[in-house]
């Protein structure tokens, strides 16, 4: 597949004192996709993002945005990107409109250009009615919407979102997802960090799982799940003494990737359940195994995460790795 590269990160490292926050990272983001950096807190995803938006200088390695180096051509990069920070970077005394006006001046828009764009954005994020109230009266969701409007003000080629739905209620969260999908539909490239697996799964075209400053795996959510070795069919048998004969029977079949005996039955890893299920049922039938219960699981992104990092995303990082 020949696609335009929007961001090219090559052997990027960032070392604080002796701590490697980001360790020899290389990846590419294609134009027009939603790219996710998924990982637990402290994994290095924010450091990576801050490097891309020119706020951090890499210790070694390079990153380019639309072909411009984030250190050498920082000013050029800044004109091409929009940034939505992780914290509610809101001045509580300014109104929503004043936030956007301030940024308009910082992106060197004329008053007329700015006024036009601000009106469009306020409409887009549904803040028109609240535009002239100080931001301290806004709810969390409204602040987030204003954050996003601020990120979109420069009409960026690439929008960077740092934990876009952290701490939001479910409705605001779904609303933000809608915006992100809409931006993609308009042709914008979106790079986001998240530590929510469902968010990465729902939203990202491709994602990199980052842990301990390194990329553990990279691909589309579907690819990552498939790479895990397919779906899992779990059988519970009525007579447990037949388990082993069925196991050896199934192992030789091409549609089956792996078989593992459990206490009550078998866990069968399959390429595609559509092909494998008839085989399984037929074999069981032929050997006279009565099946009590059959369950079929698609691997979730959780399984991918655990397989690549050795722990669930909610588990904290062991002491030895953070030190």
């Amino acid at each position: 597949m020949d696609r335009t590269i929007a961001i090219d990160v090559s052997h990027l490292s960032k070392i604080y004192d002796s701590y490697r926050a980001v360790d020899d990272l290389s990846f590419q983001v294609y134009a027009g996709e939603i790219f996710g950096l998924l990982g637990p807190n402290g994994a290095g995803k924010s450091t990576t993002l801050r490097t891309l938006i020119t706020l951090l200088h890499p210790t070694s390695g390079t990153a380019t945005v639309m072909g411009y180096d984030t250190v050498r051509d920082a000013d050029k990069v800044r004109t091409l990107i929009g940034y939505v920070p992780q914290e509610r970077a809101i001045d509580r005394f300014l109104t929503g409109r004043e936030h956007l006006q301030l940024l308009g001046a910082l992106y060197h828009l004329t008053k007329e250009e700015a006024a036009k764009r601000i009106a469009e954005l306020l409409k887009l994020v549904e803040l028109e009615a609240h535009a002239d109230r100080p931001a301290k009266t806004y709810s969390g969701g409204m602040k987030r919407k204003l954050d996003i409007a601020c990120g979109l003000l420069p009409d960026p080629k690439i929008l960077f979102l740092d934990e876009p739905t952290l701490g939001l209620d479910v409705q605001s969260r779904l609303r933000i997802w809608d915006y992100v999908r809409m931006l993609k539909a308009r042709g914008m490239t979106v790079v986001m960090t998240t530590n929510y697996l469902d968010e990465a799964d729902q939203l990202c075209d491709r994602l990199a799982i980052i842990d301990g400053g390194k990329i553990k795996t990279l691909g589309s959510p579907v690819e990552l799940k498939i790479a895990l070795g397919g779906d899992i069919v779990s059988l519970t048998l009525k007579e447990t003494d037949r388990i082993h004969s069925l196991e050896s029977e199934l192992k030789s079949r091409p549609a089956i990737k792996a078989v593992r005996a459990t206490t009550k039955g078998l866990d069968i890893r399959v390429e595609s359940p559509e092909k494998a299920l008839p085989t399984i049922l037929e074999s069981a039938n032929r050997l006279g195994c009565d099946i009590d219960f059959i369950q079929y699981n698609r691997p979730r992104l959780d399984d991918v995460f655990i397989a690549h990092t050795g722990r669930a995303i909610t588990e904290s990082i062991p002491e030895s790795e953070t030190a």
Binding site: R50, I53, T54, L55, L56, H57, D75, R78, T79, I81, Y83, P85, Q86, E87, R88, A89, I90, D91, F93, L94, E98, Q101, L102, L103, A105, L106, Y107, H108, P134, C150, P154
Partner: protein, 259 residues
């Protein structure tokens, strides 16, 4: 250049807007606690203070110069606070991810702090006037006082910003601030002339740039140009060195914080 100006004026307007939104804060900023020093402390010590020692007609006219420079001190040292909050809530990152000159944010803060400080100094001189303190050097003298205030204020604001960019938490910032401000005042000629201080205190006070500023402002208020000019010349020199050091430190801290 037009871009630069657009950035700086928009950022300065933000500081003005913030202040105007906090009506109470604005009131208390302008009618500063410093004014109480002048009104209460000045009048309280009117009879307790020895005019021979002060070399002034009364204590309040002696104190006026001290209060002017104390105002500059407090405003300057607090000048970085807003940037500290911007750093903590991510607003600064948002500003820095835009294609602005890196110095715009800082310059806007200098402009704002200097403007507010000048207004306060004028209020203080106005109140002093009501208590019968007439600047001996007239309006040109007042302008000179403002200039000295600016020169001192720039260095102090730079220190404050350097601290804002370096500290880990705002608790640290305010501890250091509280720790710095009072000794700076007591170890200066703000409240009593150096000649009336215990030897060790007057010795230390000589190294306080604040003393130099006060010793230049005071004759501008009390005596007249002939006595003031050598002091003014001296303070300009001292402040050039002071500002250079502070700005160098501030720029270093800023660059470190901004990667």
């Amino acid at each position: 250049m037009a871009h630069y100006w657009q950035e700086i004026s928009a950022l300065t307007m933000r500081w003005v807007r913030r202040l105007s939104r906090e009506k109470f804060s604005m009131l208390f900023t302008l009618v500063q606690p410093m004014l109480f020093w002048l009104i209460f402390f000045g009048n309280l010590f009117q009879r307790a203070a020895d005019t021979q020692v002060m070399q002034a007609p009364n204590y309040i006219s002696f104190l006026a110069a001290g209060v002017v420079v104390m105002t500059v001190l407090n405003n300057g040292l607090a000048g970085g606070v807003d940037l500290l909050f911007d750093k903590e809530n991510g607003f600064l990152e948002r500003l820095m991810s835009t294609p602005i000159h890196r110095s715009s944010v800082i310059l806007s803060r200098f402009i704002f702090v200097m403007a507010i400080t000048s207004m306060q100094v004028l209020v203080i001189l106005g109140v002093a006037y009501l208590f019968g303190v007439q600047p001996a050097t007239g309006l040109l003298g007042v302008a000179t006082i403002l200039l000295i205030g600016m020169m001192f204020g720039v260095g102090l604001t730079a220190i404050s910003m350097a601290m804002a960019f370096s500290v880990k938490s705002h608790g640290d910032f305010f501890s250091v601030l509280g720790f710095l401000s009072l000794p700076m005042i007591f170890l200066s000629s703000a409240l009593v002339p150096l000649t009336a201080m215990p030897g060790w205190m007057s010795f230390l006070a000589q190294f306080n740039p604040m003393t130099w500023a006060i010793d230049a402002v005071r004759p501008l208020i009390l005596s007249g140009w002939t006595e003031a000019l050598p002091h003014v010349g001296m303070v300009v020199l001292v402040m050039v060195v002071f500002d250079a050091l502070c700005l160098y430190g501030g720029a270093k801290a800023f660059r470190r914080a901004m990667g």
